[in-house]
């Protein structure tokens, strides 16, 4: 068992993953700031018709909109005023790919790992922003109701795309992206593993390795 590089990799990953995740969660506001910033640029750039401003604090990204909420009871002293929609999201939901990527990189003992780590961290930012932006859009286009949806001007097919983009950004991207990136930056790992497995079997024919 000790000779199998896969078991060594697994043991290292079991050590690094909780450590990286813990550090990332502890310093979440710091690690998730770049994606929060990119998301706020995207929202303000592409949806300036209804995005008033974006705030990032205490692990929450708040989007203040100009979209009016219908049927909100307004006190008598504030008659004439309207309630505006504020959308909130947690970028951490879409950002745990970074500690997963770091753990994989540190477990596979690669050369130039810090350079690769920096490159990977930068590459994951737009993918995390994908999840954050689609979550905001989903809340506006689907959850906030038909009156808000009509003000934002989303068509039927756009709503379908938003729903699909959100599901993909929440269920697939956070985990598949870091692993794909790790494999792309560590291309010799798979051939090395196949070769090592083949040699092991030829050395001990008939024995399960």
């Amino acid at each position: 068992m000790g000779r199998n590089p896969l078991y060594i990799f697994l043991a290292k990953a079991a050590f690094w993953l909780p450590l990286c995740l813990g550090l990332w969660y502890w310093k979440a506001e710091w690690f998730n700031s770049p994606a929060a910033l990119v998301s706020s640029w995207i929202m303000q750039g592409f949806f300036d018709g209804w995005v008033e401003s974006v705030e990032w604090s205490r692990r929450t990204l708040s989007v203040l909109t100009t979209l009016e909420l219908p049927n909100i009871p307004v006190p008598a002293e504030r008659s004439g005023q309207v309630g505006l929609l504020v959308v909130q999201t947690n970028p951490l939901f879409y950002g745990y790919g970074l500690p997963l990527f770091a753990a994989l990189l540190l477990s596979s003992g690669e050369a130039r790992r810090w350079r690769k780590l920096l490159f990977g961290a930068l590459a994951l930012i737009p993918l995390q922003s994908w999840g954050v932006c689609f979550d905001i859009l989903r809340q506006v286009a689907i959850e906030a109701g038909p009156a808000v949806r009509a003000q934002a001007g989303f068509s039927r097919w756009q709503i379908e795309v938003i729903g699909l983009g959100y599901q993909f950004g929440y269920l697939i991207l956070p985990t598949v992206a870091p692993i794909s990136l790790w494999l792309a930056l560590n291309r010799q790992f798979i051939p090395m593993l196949m070769l090592e497995g083949g040699l092991q079997r030829s050395e001990y024919p008939g024995k399960s390795v």
Binding site: L6, L21, Y96, P99, Y170, T175, I179, A184, M194, G198
Partner: protein, 166 residues
């Protein structure tokens, strides 16, 4: 590598779309989530008489605390990723089928462990439930997928590895 990645993305996208579509939901997602709930319940019940299960919910009878198995918690996405990775990688079909059978079993087995651990975590340590549920277990399940896939690759028949007899 590029060919593998493109085929992987195509299969992943196709299976993911099927999962989200109404036929995928009614034929696979809902029945499997219900089966996962029952299986987890059956494993807990002999040791914990307070546990009850209904639909996709596992609950503690005495205090009502429990979990609901939602999208992302039934390991269907993890299985889809594994299926796409195995099908996209060049290998004999027999090896692929063996990898799919054992691989999906391994991923779902770990996921049962996740469901049971989260059921008790929400009752005993609700303060760390969010971290374990949303981040730690999500990453662990995908690490499981990766390790299963790597084990499958390592066990590739020699003829596929050395096609020119080198």
């Amino acid at each position: 590598m590029l060919r593998f990645f493109l085929v992987f993305v195509a299969i992943l996208g196709g299976l993911f779309l099927f999962e989200l579509a109404p036929p995928g939901q009614s034929l696979v997602v809902t029945p499997w989530t219900s089966t996962l709930t029952k299986l987890s319940y059956e494993l807990i019940a002999p040791f914990d008489p307070n546990v009850i299960a209904h639909g996709k919910v596992i609950q503690n009878r005495s205090d009502g605390q429990g979990i609901s198995i939602e999208a992302g918690c039934n390991a269907i996405e993890a299985s889809i990723v594994l299926i796409a990775a195995i099908l996209a990688f060049p290998a004999p079909w027999r090896h692929k089928l063996r990898g799919l059978a054992f691989g999906i079993l391994a991923v779902q087995g770990i996921n049962v462990l996740r469901v049971i651990s989260l059921f008790y975590l929400v009752q005993w340590r609700a303060d760390i439930f969010e971290f374990a549920h949303l981040y730690l277990w999500q990453a662990l399940i995908m690490l499981d997928v990766l390790v299963v896939w790597l084990i499958w690759i390592r066990a590739m028949p020699e003829r596929r590895m050395f096609p020119h007899g080198t």
